[in-house]
Subunit: 153 residues, 2 copies
């Protein structure tokens, strides 16, 4: 029986469309939301619950860049690529706000693999990572183009 802890490092050769990777959950506090926002996204709806009441978000909400940064942390933990998780590009949508106390988890699915034409030791793996909260509501959809290397011959 295969063990999943610690996972085997994976190479391009080991991946196929449809492969799924599930992360552990991570819980987000109001303090963490505000700390991130002070550094990177200092706007009222990410800094103060009272100030956020009168805005589009109607209460304190995490910056989408905080959500994607936490998603990356969960991807690094849950997708055991030998060369690491290296993104060349990404597409993002945030269909629902992330709130203090939310517990997020990420399910990543390999959509497709494109071997490099010029560099035979590598390829681009397209991965969709869906971040959901504790109610199963989707808070973020991230599609990444990951640079992945082949196992050395």
């Amino acid at each position: 029986m295969p063990t999943s802890h610690p996972p085997q490092p994976l190479f391009l050769d080991d991946l196929a469309a449809g492969d799924v990777f599930e992360s552990e959950p991570i819980t987000l506090s109001a303090g963490q939301i505000v700390d991130f926002a002070r550094q990177f996204d200092p706007q009222p709806f990410h800094l103060d619950d009272e100030a956020a009441r009168g805005t589009f978000f109607q209460g304190l909400a995490a910056s989408g860049w905080h959500t994607v940064a936490l998603t990356m942390r969960l991807m690094v933990q849950s997708i055991p690529l030998d060369c690491g998780v290296i993104g060349a590009g990404a597409e993002l949508a945030w269909p629902k706000a992330v709130r203090p106390g939310d517990s997020l988890r990420v399910t990543s699915t390999v959509l497709g693999i494109t071997p490099s034409r010029s560099k035979p030791d590598r390829g681009i793996v397209e991965v969709q990572s869906v971040t959901s909260n504790q109610l199963g509501e989707v808070v973020q959809r991230l599609t990444s183009k990951l640079l992945v290397f082949r196992r050395a011959a």
Copy 2:
């Protein structure tokens, strides 16, 4: 003559394709790169210069999510939207690594405006934000769909 400090808060009505917003520069230290990576992207090439030597990056490089988070900070400072900078979605590419000591600045250009069909008080503004280093090399291209409100009638 219009003054640019402090800028006038802008509404959907005030924006047009081709409008350009330039940010101030921000400089990134090795310590900040490592701090961000410890929290959100703990991989050798973002954590330690020595460990990064043998990797794709050949030396310490900032997480792409750190670059985009700093880009957001510069966008919040340089795009004076009355309702704030609220992203519904985004596309990202990282053509070049960000290194310790790099000084980044962001030029944002309005690509197009799509009024909402169902909600006449708002629209989606597509903005391309190009993040460049001190040599003028592009380190990130970000295209954002921003939710922007009209001035109240």
